[in-house]
Symmetry: C2
Subunit: 159 residues, 2 copies
């Protein structure tokens, strides 16, 4: 397909690499990347709730905070987020607060997601900013990471 689509897969590949690093550190493997309007990667990070002892340290929150710091701006207008798993309500709220332009996610989260499932935050009349959303990018790779992680945890091979 287009060069643009190939770029999008590259960004998701970077998010997948962060998810793998998170898994190696005992975190649920979710990774995210924040990309500036000119295509520059502003931040690439994974879940860090256990490592950082921080309930809010989901991958999306991590890259939003890092990108705000990099740009010295509380708004990420025109920036795009890539994340391996559909964002939860906290992260969807942060995406709206940061005025992110587009959200690309890998695998849907029927139980915990808040973009295309659950409260479907961006479709609510109360939502003050609606990013464009594209789900299913590198879906099977993103899903496999999570499936493997939870299988190993169930088997007691990781805790």
């Amino acid at each position: 397909m287009s060069e643009k689509f190939s770029q999008q897969k590259d960004y998701m590949q970077l998010a997948l690499a962060e998810a793998e690093k998170a898994a190696a550190a005992g975190e649920v493997p979710v990774g995210a990347v924040l990309v500036a309007p000119d295509g520059t990667v502003l931040a690439a990070l994974g879940n860090a709730m256990r490592r950082a002892h921080d309930a809010t340290a989901h991958a999306e929150m991590q890259v939003i905070r890092a990108a705000c710091a990099a740009l010295n701006n509380e708004r990420l207008t025109g920036c795009d987020l890539y994340v391996t798993l559909e964002p939860c309500p906290m992260c969807a709220g942060a995406i709206a607060e940061a005025r992110i332009r587009r959200v690309y996610y890998g695998v849907a989260d029927m139980k915990g997601g808040a973009v295309d499932h659950g409260v479907a935050l961006f479709a609510q009349p109360s939502c003050h900013h609606r990013p464009e959303v594209y789900g299913g990018l590198r879906e099977s790779d993103c899903a496999a990471l999570l499936t493997d992680f939870f299988r190993l945890r169930r088997n007691g091979e990781i805790n």
Copy 2:
């Protein structure tokens, strides 16, 4: 009323003081306090989005992160949150992630709130943790701070 209720007003007074400090720094005046099960104040902070250049730095997020750091724990089980304004979707999500026991808020936010308005997150079947919620504590004082702030900003006395 009971000594307990008086304590709750004291915690909200502390949240109000943080909201006032935020206003003095040019932030929308919202303050929050995180209280441990034994009544110890773990964190008291206000909105810092502009000061910190961080879209996620709402008062509630600030105290949740600080309290997690203080306890070295990603869960704030048994802890209570006091906040001058009804939490937004991001903060309501973070409250559920952190497993906070009770949320006391001052003034309802019909437009931006996500506890008793908007997506009413804790009432959703997809919500995995439901704190007890008590709205209207020191309501008029919490509301007055916000009303004054937005009046001054409309008049160009602050920017």
